[in-house]
Symmetry: C2
Subunit: 596 residues, 2 copies
């Protein structure tokens, strides 16, 4: 199998040429003082080295060995401890963190690039920094100064890792019915009891301490989601001088045997009067947890994209090396027994489909990163408000669309290998198994779709949608007359109009039909994602066209041709999706129980 190599040229193209992130950073004072193009480029370069040389080589063996549980202790696969230490030494955990507490404060448009490389090189290991970064975000946003000072620096450094403890055996999506309890102690802390499941990296041997962020209910809490509070529960209690004290009263009861990400530990955590501290206000834990969740959701979308990038790299190499049958137009390698796979139209279709979604997905995650940066760093209230709205709208699309397509593309990359794709040693099937979880965790994709369609689009009466439509319409308007975009602007405008029409129809359907948003949601998310990727490909054409002429590397001209492939072969799916959505909810709601 091909070893993963960080795609630095692709990443620099998107960050610098397509989104001109350096100008964005320079335009916002709080960022301008922190990051310049040279710093950013050095970070990208170093991230490429660490992920390519240190982390990626552990991926296969991590899958084979898996984590081992023994009497509450979890042993990670060979090399994981050392690689994690490399991440700590490089300060990668705190790349986007608050500089007041030891973070590097880098912009999201840069951080997403690192995240892609990390997750592509080793998703199982990559989950540890990802969860830690999410935990930091929640603590930074909602924790007391005391908690932040005590915990954030060691979390940003990665000397301690973070963990999210939400799910219970009987509740995943529906956290309102959780049973874990927190009882106040006299010293202002709380005693936590209950069982949490599916806790990623809830226990391991890579960090000195593990800080759990646990959702639980106070004794007098209201029923439902408004009665949930968030607690910080460290594995080892932390003394006032920062040294580690005694072991807290909780433990890892077992780890799951699962389909993939076997190098990571998915833990059952049993809390038995563990000492914890409230983060944020009582009964407002779900809002605090969502700060973390929203961060993770883009991160999980990037995991889907990243797995597909890794799969694409191997599939492309295999398609050029493996010889099998002759090109339809006659032998391309007459001196050899057969031609390389890549001469066959259907193999090219597979590679180009992967390329179109992966590169489009990379641009889309950077696009979301751009709005996250503006929301966080802009000094203009109106800009921040617009950006916050777009982030709210686009996050579920990034999570669901990038993971659905990411998984599908790993399946395609496996298919390119034929029978060898099914054999473990080639690595392609691991990517399929690993990528599969991204469609499920951090809110299953059905929940993302409902969040987009119900909460965001219908919930705002279309106002959040308009932010996206306006941004895309402004792009189309601005690029009128751009010759390179000539084949693309009309179908792009048609896609936008289709999406806007469907949006309005669902808004109308929803007035009389509470089931309308849910019935439309999955197809709508798909339609939205395709339209967004059409936008991204148009932006890539704008950036690539001036450099394509006279470029013998094929990099820029390849972008123009892949854009065409996306528009001709993939974008037409929007027509069918719109037609399906228009049919409304009846065909899925009219079945009685015994008619299933």
């Amino acid at each position: 199998m091909a070893d993963y190599k960080a795609p630095l040229q692709e990443i620099r193209f998107v960050m610098n040429d397509v989104f001109d992130a350096p100008s964005l950073w320079a335009s916002m004072p709080r960022l301008a003082e922190r990051v310049d193009p040279d710093t950013a480029d050095a970070i990208i370069e170093e991230a490429g080295k660490v992920t390519t040389n240190v982390i990626a080589p552990l991926n296969r063996e991590g899958d084979e060995q898996g984590c081992q549980w023994n009497d509450g202790k979890v042993t990670t696969p060979e090399g994981f401890r050392e690689a994690y230490q490399t991440i700590v030494d490089g300060g990668w955990n705190g790349l986007g963190g608050n500089p007041d507490f030891g973070g590097m404060g880098m912009p999201k448009t840069l951080v997403v690039q690192f995240e892609e490389m990390l997750q592509a090189s080793n998703m199982a290991l990559g989950l540890a920094p990802m969860l830690t970064a999410g935990a930091c975000l929640a603590l930074d946003a909602h924790g007391s100064e005391e908690l932040k000072e005590k915990y954030l620096p060691n979390l940003y450094s990665g000397v301690w890792s973070g963990s999210m403890d939400l799910t219970e055996p009987h509740c995943g999506t529906d956290l309102g019915i959780m049973r874990s309890r927190a009882v106040p102690r006299e010293d202002g802390s709380y005693s936590l009891s209950g069982t949490k499941i599916f806790i990623t990296w809830g226990e391991h041997d890579m960090a000195e301490n593990i800080i759990h962020f646990v959702l639980a209910k106070l004794p007098d809490a209201p029923r439902g989601p408004k009665g949930i509070s968030l607690f910080l529960v460290p594995k080892f209690l932390v003394n006032d001088d920062g040294s580690l004290g005694e072991r807290n009263a909780f433990s890892c009861g077992s780890i799951e045997k699962k389909m993939g990400i076997k190098g990571s530990a998915t833990c059952v955590m049993n809390f038995d009067g563990a000492q914890g501290w409230l983060v944020g206000e009582e009964n407002k834990g779900l809002a605090a947890m969502f700060t973390m969740m929203n961060y993770e959701r883009l991160g999980v979308g990037i995991q889907g994209l990243a797995a597909a990038e890794a799969s694409l790299q191997s599939a492309r190499e295999y398609a050029f090396e493996r010889i099998q049958s002759r090109a339809p137009t006659g032998a391309r390698n007459p001196e050899q027994a057969a031609d390389p796979l890549v001469v066959h139209p259907d193999v090219r279709r597979m590679l180009l489909t992967m390329k179109a979604y992966v590169e489009g997905g990379r641009a889309f995650s950077t696009y979301v990163g751009q709005w996250l940066d503006i929301a966080k760093f802009s000094d203009e209230d109106a800009d921040r408000e617009q950006a916050e709205g777009l982030v709210a709208l686009l996050t579920p699309v990034a999570k669901a669309f990038l993971t659905d397509r990411g998984f599908d593309m790993c399946v395609v990359g496996q298919q390119v290998f034929g029978g060898h794709g099914y054999i473990r040693e080639w690595g392609q099937e691991q990517l399929v198994r690993d990528a599969r979880i991204t469609q499920i965790y951090e809110g299953a994709n059905g929940i993302q779709a409902l969040d987009l369609m119900g909460r965001k689009v219908v919930g705002s009466q279309g106002k959040l949608y308009e932010l996206f439509a306006d941004d895309l319409a402004a792009f189309i308007e601005k690029e009128q007359g751009n010759v390179a975009l000539e084949p693309f602007l009309a179908p792009l405008a048609a896609s936008l109009e289709r999406l806007s029409d469907v949006t309005e129809q669902v808004l109308n359907q929803s007035k009389d039909d509470p089931n309308a948003p849910g019935a439309a949601s999955a197809d709508y998310t798909n339609l939205f994602g395709l339209t967004a990727l059409a936008y991204m490909w148009a932006k890539m054409v704008v950036a690539a066209a001036p450099k394509a002429e006279g470029d013998s590397s094929g990099f820029y001209s390849g972008k123009l041709k892949t854009a065409r492939f996306f528009y001709e072969r993939l974008l037409p799916q929007t027509v069918s999706l719109a037609e399906s959505i228009r049919s409304g909810s009846q065909s899925m709601m009219e079945h009685a129980d015994n008619e299933f």
Copy 2:
């Protein structure tokens, strides 16, 4: 997890009500004497018992244990030997076999139902009878009387098993470049040497002897696919009295570690001067092998369908049992903490999508079985010719479409379980891993698509396609005025027209563009499959409508509603597929190597 239960009502509905197979059998003298409705029903009933009670319970543990290789010997998972013996004792191996040599000679319209149950209950174990039946078909069609008498009875009984040995490390699809050699011996037999890989059940401990059907080249063979011959190579030589003699000169060098079907052994076979006998004529082995392959291809399509049926059963049960959140229209179970998953529109969408493809797929495999029966048993030359043409056309659709959708539906079934779907003990993820191979082996689905589009449609200048279009057009014509079909006939006719238009366009494109068939092939297969399933759902409506009124079981009314779901939510994909195909090959052929 829900245990698999053979869906006998569904199977009887398709076989008896939708296709009225008993009338078909009665209309053909050679079948009429062999099978009547009562016999057929008893076979279905017994197949249901064996697969539900004996074979399905071994499926999970077979995946966990896998096969073990030790010094050339393969040990099967616990219980597999006994279950295989149950299959032998029931005569299931020879259900469709030639009665002259001990087969039961049952029609394919019946055999496909058994195949579905077998593969749904345990795909790893089910591969053994499937490969044996395919081997028998090739031997029966091409072998000498002597070979047939010596080998067929023990293969039909299953006392011996069969194995297909095609692939080599450097050639899978492109068998023309194989290196295995067969040298004639003085006694008329041959000495075989070479290495074969991916040999399913090439070695195991369930049968007394394993009969390998091996492709190899004679010393003076022409280059390419026209220089391949087929040989029968038994693991133990068979004496003239039928007793087993010495071990033949080949062995299993190792078994693969693979993504799924872990209960089966995928073997590397090393032939070192092994004694074999020619099956059919010299250098015509590929044609003989294709007799086997075509049989297997429908069988593999059924595997995809079967895995999806198993996944659907569990997902449906889970969706009714697991409570999580409230229905959009208000609490359905106010006395409980939450409502069952099935109240949520998107969960219903998932279940109904599975149901629409699984039940449509079952009808489609029976439809192909119907043409196989006519091709084999009809006394009318014209009917046989029509049926043979349809079988040639529909086989790649059955293989590729049913496995692509079968896999996708296993993924959907896993998604219904949320996080639990990713955990091994729930069984849903195994179905995904198992089903994945069906898209790859027996000719990867890209090869199926090329066979359909290139060899069958373009190769016959559309004549084979016309057989299908005529059959569907005749149905539409005949059912004009059928009130139950009223909502369906117009979209069905539109789909047929769309498929016919696209077919003609690709025929035209292909005149100047050798890449056109390959470029269209995957989307075309998809479009064809959807149109065929629309036909199947219309046939199911015809059969169900008269029984739906006053039926309180929901079975028949559910069929009508699922048909609507298929037409409104799934069939629209055909619009996009047609648009993609129309764009031709350029967008995938214009990339230079360095533009990928």
